[in-house]
Symmetry: C2
Subunit: 215 residues, 2 copies
DNA sequence: TACCCATACAGGTAAAACCCTATTATTAAA
DNA sequence: TTTAATAATAGGGTTTTACCTGTATGGGTA
């Protein structure tokens, strides 16, 4: 028998978890060390068992300690354990959050069975499973363009916001825009009110969140 | 003959550009509309020719108007034209910048010839060519962890910086950290001087650039 | 013990940021 | 032509930031 990969499963759907176990064992090159119902349960299982998993199949939606928390905990406490997310959610924010928290791959629960086998092997050999799902999502997230006008910012206000997200003083901004400092102050007040900003820090964060400026 | 893809080439290395043309024509399913030496030249070629390209093979390092500018211009003015970056640079920032500016793929100039064919076909059918190079780079960029300590920030200063990147006033920060506002002011001065920051906006940008806070 | 050094904190001040309430100029609409 | 709306500006006041210099305390350590 070739090298055997040690797998752990973390999913609160017991039925799904155990059928997953069957599937994984059927691959021939994998063993399932333990199954946990949530992150806390998994932490317990880690101490109870001497053998540590190579890969954790991790669900997102779970009670007590969800997949995000668990992934982060694993990344920080057992960085050598690889997380393969197995979720029903295919929304951008879930995917990005899991990748951000260190997941080495992201599979949808309705993927074909051999995809799981492929993903496990890819992760073990290359360190990451590059599914189109993840790749597309990341690319889209990166390419999301400025949404200035959709925010209701006029040209001149947009320019103001961009400059305000630099170390310039308002006086300098006024000079740069050829406007009176008082006008700039007017922009400031309008924008603060419109977007519920408390101070210039809020404005900077707003500009960055909405891709109005590069960081 | 199957459907024919219309290609344009933008590269200041004339020799490489024309050999690229030969290669592309040899694929059988592609035509080369025109070759440009830089972005400006390409803009001119676009108006001179009635037929518009499906894909532009775009180099990055060019005189007059480089690949970044050109990609951005294409994205904003001809969003239906797909950019396939063809560069010698494999550094993270170049890749990310091009993807950010809308490139549909990123190929290194020393890729095997059939990779180019594959990339063109992938882009035409799926809208994006998911090379491992790009996927890995994006994943890494997303997973880059905090580098706080490497910056030389002490625990308490780090906490201060994180709080300063919110809408809190320094007084509020002091209360939250159970320190005198004067102490906080001391931190501020130290950090400003150490990292050459002019004001709080600079501090916020610094925190974000160094992944000290999430945006 | 005396000295060095880092941390927490004070006083004082000028500049910038923040906020409210007007007043003009221009322009579009009635 | 009056009316309404919008952009640019002012006046004037409070709060926060930003900067400088200086002191008290508590370790280390020669």
């Amino acid at each position: 028998m070739q090298q055997s990969y040690k797998i752990a499963i973390v999913d609160d759907h017991t039925l799904l978890a155990s059928s997953l176990e069957q599937l994984i064992v059927s691959f021939g090159n994998c063993r399932v060390l333990h199954i946990s119902k949530n992150g806390k349960d998994f932490q317990q299982n880690l101490v109870n068992h001497v053998e540590k998993p190579d890969i954790v199949l991790l669900d997102i939606n779970m009670p007590v300690m969800d997949g995000f928390e668990t992934a982060l905990w694993i990344k920080e406490n057992h960085p050598y354990i690889k997380v393969l997310t197995l979720s029903m959610e295919d929304d951008e924010s879930s995917i990005i959050k899991m990748i951000h928290k260190g997941a080495k791959g992201y599979l949808l629960k309705d993927s074909p069975p051999d995809t799981l086998k492929l993903a496990i092997e890819e992760i073990m050999s290359n360190g990451f499973y590059h599914s189109d799902l993840v790749a597309n999502t990341l690319v889209q997230a990166f390419q999301k363009g400025p949404v200035a006008s959709e925010l209701g910012l006029k040209d001149t206000e947009l320019q103001f916001v961009k400059l305000a997200a630099t170390e310039r003083t308002y006086k300098e901004i006024a000079a740069e825009m050829n406007l009176s400092p008082k006008t700039i102050d007017g922009y400031r007040q309008d924008v603060f009110k419109r977007y519920n900003l408390k101070n210039r820090v809020g404005l900077v964060l707003f500009a960055i969140k909405n891709d109005l400026v590069e960081v």
